[in-house]
């Protein structure tokens, strides 16, 4: 953060400590101390979440009307997203400029202004300080000094980028434009779901996952696990290792996309490695798995990971933003915002809601992931001196046209190490 006062700096010691030296193997290893060390976590807040990165904060449809607001976080820092009277989207800290009160308490709402409960300093929807009660004192006594300038004491504002209904924000002045930040390839995948149609909010799900936030990114950037861990997917033919699939990254390696296509639901020889395969299973109520084709191309699942806090999920017809809110080194909140399009008819909405059973805290697919993340943290945290092995698909970090690879995870940590100077 660019504030001049008392800014935390990394103690030199922190950088050179042998306890925080990356294994010599480089890209093919991730040392386990990155998942639990409190000092690493502190630096992540500063360098990553408050650094030059666009964090997802809202969908426009969550704050459709002037005066609408949403309360959320970037990293663990509380912020507020509003729509001003002019229709523009604003983002500022949820921390009173006076003495720090987290003044906004409702998850969502509509307001004309924000009034801090403590001394009723009031702010407009842009975060500007409107009023300081008794600023000129009472009966000619007290009040703020004459040189006190309300313009200097507004809420700290974040830069905002809105693209096709999705709102991002950044604490840093150095973050490039959102389009440059994503890069051409990632932007085109982003625009596949966010094609300019108005979005419609379907609802929220929230999980508190007892694991380091990076394990969530590893999970989604890991196509290798899908056909092995997710028996439901495999049993009902939604995903298989031999489906035509590919992974792509942006140039920096921080963003990525996993694309796959529905395969068949029968046994082939390539699947001898999938011990969980069951042939010919049928649902009692097949409505759940009756997808409707709606996107161009033949991809049925597209999972896009956007540094540092977002996963855009398109799994058949269930669409969701998965926002990561860090809560210390060993825990994060996964906040799901499910949505559809304003032009969906009732039946389409019902299909989306029904398929939401696949994802979220009770997701027939995602349960496996949230459980396995907990198991990972429990294996990792008491062995900080050990390291994970990332050798599937080689040791590089390039795009690949199959899913038997950990390339996207290597790419992620390649960028991570740069930002963290590790």
């Amino acid at each position: 953060m660019s504030s001049a006062i008392g800014r935390p700096r990394l103690p030199e010691e922190g950088r050179n400590d042998t306890r925080r030296r990356w294994p010599e193997e480089g890209l093919t290893r991730v040392p386990y101390w990155v998942y639990s060390d409190p000092e690493i976590y502190r630096q992540e807040q500063e360098r990553i979440f408050c650094g030059p990165a666009w964090s997802f904060v809202a969908l426009e449809c969550e704050i459709a009307q002037p005066g609408d607001f949403k309360r959320t976080y970037i990293g663990d820092r509380p912020i507020v997203v509003t729509r001003g009277k002019d229709g523009e989207v604003n983002v500022f800290v949820n921390r009173c400029a006076h003495r720090g009160v987290q003044f906004c308490r409702e998850q969502r709402g509509n307001t004309k202004e924000f009034v801090c409960p403590y001394h009723q300093w009031s702010y407009d929807l842009q975060g500007n300080l409107l009023g300081v009660p008794f600023k000129r004192g009472v009966k000619k006594k007290g009040g703020m000094p004459p040189e006190f300038d309300t313009k200097q004491h507004g809420l700290r504002k974040l830069r905002v980028a809105v693209r096709h209904g999705v709102v991002f924000a950044t604490f840093s002045e150095e973050t490039p434009s959102f389009e440059d930040y994503l890069g051409e390839t990632m932007l085109s995948w982003f625009d596949r779901v966010f094609d300019g149609r108005k979005l419609m909010l379907l609802g929220y799900s929230r999980q508190l996952i007892p694991a380091n936030w990076k394990l969530m990114f590893e999970n989604i950037k890991d196509p290798y696990h899908a056909s092995l861990l997710h028996v439901f997917l495999v049993t009902f033919g939604l995903f298989r290792a031999d489906n035509p699939s590919h992974v792509q990254m942006d140039e920096t390696g921080r963003h990525g996309v996993l694309v796959s296509r529905k395969g068949e639901q029968k046994k082939t020889e390539d699947l001898s490695d999938m011990r969980n395969f069951r042939e010919n299973m049928k649902l009692n109520d097949p409505k759940l798995l009756t997808p409707v084709k709606e996107f161009p191309g033949d991809a049925t699942v597209v999972m896009q990971t956007l540094w540092p806090n977002l996963i855009v999920q398109q799994q058949s017809n269930t669409l969701a933003m998965r926002q990561l809110v860090t809560r210390g080194p060993e825990s994060f909140e996964l906040a799901w915002t499910f949505f559809g399009y304003e032009d969906d008819d009732e039946e389409m909405t019902q299909i989306r809601l029904r398929q939401a059973n696949l994802m979220g805290p009770s997701g027939l697919v995602s349960i496996d992931d949230s459980e396995v993340m907990q198991f990972s943290q429990e294996g990792i945290s008491s062995y900080p001196e050990e390291a994970g092995v990332l050798e599937m698909g080689g040791s590089g970090r390039e795009d690949q046209d199959h899913i038997v690879t950990e390339s996207p995870i290597r790419a992620f940590y390649d960028y991570y190490r740069q930002v963290m100077e590790l």
């Binding site: 379907l202 609802g203 999980q207 009692n284 109520d285």
Partner: protein, 158 residues
């Protein structure tokens, strides 16, 4: 005994059987508490209050309940756990010729390996029941939970 009291006592027995079925892990028996065309939802308070349609778990028929059971038993990967329901303040809130509406408070306590027991969630049952062959069945069961935030995964029905 008055009819209304009799009904309440019948409901109390039904809820007791219902939670014992789940706590005992007798998942195959669980769909039998519902009608064929039932609606079952677990929904966070924020969606319920904001009229957002998304449920955390949604079953639109007894078949879907059975599919959930199949997933719990055969396809989902999750750590061992014990669940314990507490139900309180069971009330009949309405009744017409065809169906009965009822409410109750519930809390579910969860115990994971090597951990102490924690409150997994609490909330309200908002139910509609009908009588089939003399037995009360859930035609609609809504579990609105207070916390919004799920402690990792919600695997077993509530």
């Amino acid at each position: 005994m008055e009819e209304s009291l009799k009904l309440r006592l019948e409901l109390e027995a039904l809820y007791a059987d219902y939670v014992a079925c789940l706590d005992d892990g007798d998942y195959d028996a669980w769909p039998e508490f519902f009608t064929e065309t039932c609606l079952y939802k677990i929904i966070p308070r924020e969606n319920f209050e904001q009229n957002l349609p998304l449920a955390t778990m949604l079953c639109e028929s007894k078949g879907m309940l059975q599919d959930r059971v199949y997933a719990v038993k055969e396809t989902s990967m999750f750590g061992p756990r014990a669940l314990r329901h507490l139900v309180s303040a069971i009330r009949v809130t309405g009744q017409d010729g065809e169906s009965i509406t009822a409410q109750a408070n519930y809390a579910v306590l969860q115990t994971l390996n090597d951990e102490e027991t924690k409150i997994f969630q609490c909330g309200r049952y908002l139910d509609r029941l009908v009588r089939e062959d003399g037995k009360l069945k859930f035609a609609e069961k809504l579990c609105v939970f207070d916390s919004n935030l799920v402690s990792n995964s919600l695997i077993i029905p509530i």
